[in-house]
Amino acid sequence: MSLPSGIFQESYGQDMAIFRTKLQWFLLLAFLVVLFTVPLYASDKILTVTTMIGISIISVLGLNILTGYCGQISLGHAGFMAVGGYVSAILTAKLGLPFLVALPCAGLAAGLVGIIFGLPSLKIKGFYLIMATVAAQFIVIWLILQFRDVTGGTDGISVPRPDLFGYVIQTKGAYFLLVMIIACLGTFFAKNIVRTRVGRAFIAIRDNDLAAEVMGVNLLSYKLLAFFIGCVYAGVAGSLLVNYFAFADTNMFPFGDSVWYLAMLIVGGMGSTTGAIFGVVSLKLLDEAMTLAGPALAAAFPDIAAQAAASLSLIMRGVVIAVFLIFEPRGLMHRWELFKAYFRRWPFSV
């Protein structure tokens, strides 16, 4: 990372720090203050959108560790979220366990399921692995629908409001804070894990798995660990999603979402925690814009009013992915770096 002129690093610790200038610390604190005071002045609509963005960020951070850092492409992330969501729903609604027990259990359960479907990853990669994870998505959803005694089948499960040491979260504002705390912790953990021995092993596997093995990286355990971590994030996100709606239903975890999470990663920039957040925020806002534009579109094309919004949002999703793949495969993060570099050298930038 290049620093502004006049700032020098004197120790290894300083060189490795994530926040390296006073301005960065100030911006971080200001951002956190703004983030955690949003419920004081924001409307319900904004809180809903931002909570959804927070949940997606948690999920995509996991996908980024799995796909962006370890190179194991997963197109079944919504399926792993479904595991977490349903485990949490069953634990709180049927067994009466508190939310704070159900949330980690949801993460663990999704992680274990992730390990099961990650097992083929030792032998296969690329297209084969993508098919294995697509299969995971559909098999998970099918199993949930089959065991209707436990999961409620197509009827879904109603979930009680989450309860933190006796304080029941009722308002959207309180839930927003809960999601954002978990999202911040998740970001902190994700940002740091890739700087450890484990993270460097992941990157080695992504860049060339055979070379990594020769260097002494145990492929099986590290690939499974990547699946575990990625799916723990998915499970926690699924649990938060289910608790937000106080309802669990398989339609909340469609295959299209798995694709869209991967698209967020591509749009944001793979292999970068900040990029993942960029991608989620921009694509979620784009989704919201399409929802808002729905009535306008229906009015503009009265002949096809019924399907205009749905079909145009599908086409928009496809076009966004295609445009980014062709014109900026390194994602928004790369653009942001270029932007920062331009102004750091200004007025001598080229």
């Binding site: 399907q307 496809g318 062709i326």
Partner: protein
């Protein structure tokens, strides 16, 4: 026993159609090293095109199929030129995401143009039901078998005798050598996408004539992936063989096991994924696929 044979025969016809869809996938993969996730969407578009030409325009069957093939050719050319050409040499993930994007766009277009509704054109295709003893061979099975055989023979002739077919086989071996021999690789890519589109659209017309068309029909592409993986990802013969196996197994499994499952089954829909997982764990290169050795 009759029940079993009936299941096997219907499964056989279905399997031939799966094999047809899988062949489109294999041709693109062999020629341009692109994994085409949108093959199922080609089938769905084919079904809707069949509806438009047969029912809305009242064309005779042969004219409808020719018109659909013409549209498919145009579609293949556009897709290759606009979406896949810029990605030559990119990573597997980029190409797969591009074909997923293509699939999403085609889903959107189908919803826009045909309203995403269920459309049926039962009876527009010729219906001949053969009776052998107690067994009745339904028309879709017959048509599926006949059309699949015609397409496979046509493709075999193309790859053996036509100049472009030979160029495609050579490209599958080594692109650089082919280029230095004066063959335009980009033309080969375009032709392979056109063939995949045409094959997909034809199988879409067959399937649509049987069970009607809707946007979710593109999920049949998933079954084609199971077929491709079982048969070996780069083998056309393997695709045909695996298609028949999966068609029969799926039908028999659904026929016998569905009544035993707690909430009424739907095993036919999830069956391809179970096959995919089993194949990937035990025989990742499929029955007839080449095993590639990797070097650092």
């Amino acid at each position: 026993m009759t029940f079993f044979l009936q299941l096997v025969i219907t499964g056989f016809g279905l399997g031939m159609v799966y094999a047809l869809i899988a062949i489109g996938f294999v041709i693109i993969l062999k020629c341009s090293k692109a994994f085409n996730i949108a093959q199922g969407q080609f089938v769905m578009i084919g079904g809707y095109l069949g509806y438009t030409f047969l029912v809305s325009f009242h064309l005779p069957v042969w004219a409808a199929i020719l018109a659909a093939i013409a549209v498919a050719t145009l579609m293949g050319m556009l897709i290759e030129r606009l979406m896949l050409r810029p990605l030559v040499g990119q990573s597997v993930l980029a190409i797969i995401m591009m074909t997923i994007a293509l699939g999403t766009i085609l889903d959107g277009i189908a919803t826009l143009v045909w309203g995403g509704e269920y459309k049926a054109y039962h009876g527009a295709l010729p219906t001949i039901t053969l009776k052998v003893g107690d067994l009745s061979i339904p028309p879709e099975t017959l048509i599926g078998i006949i059309v699949s055989i015609i397409v496979v023979v046509a493709l075999m002739m193309l790859f053996r005798y036509a100049k472009i077919g030979l160029a495609m086989r050579a490209t599958a071996e080594d692109e650089k050598v082919v280029q230095s021999a004066g063959i335009k690789v980009t033309t080969v890519y375009t032709i392979s996408w056109i063939i995949a589109c045409v094959v997909g659209v034809v199988s879409g017309i067959i399937l649509g004539g049987v069970s009607g068309v809707m946007v979710s029909m593109s999920e049949v592409g998933m079954k084609a992936f199971a077929v491709v993986l079982l048969g070996g990802i780069d083998s056309i013969g393997g695709a045909i063989f695996a298609g028949i196996i999966i068609g029969i197994l799926e039908n028999v499994a659904a026929g016998y096991l569905d009544p035993l499952l707690p909430s009424g089954g739907g095993l036919a829909n999830v069956f391809p994924f179970i096959v995919i997982i089993i194949v990937l764990i035990f025989k990742p290169h499929g029955l007839f696929g080449l095993r590639r050795i990797e070097r650092i």
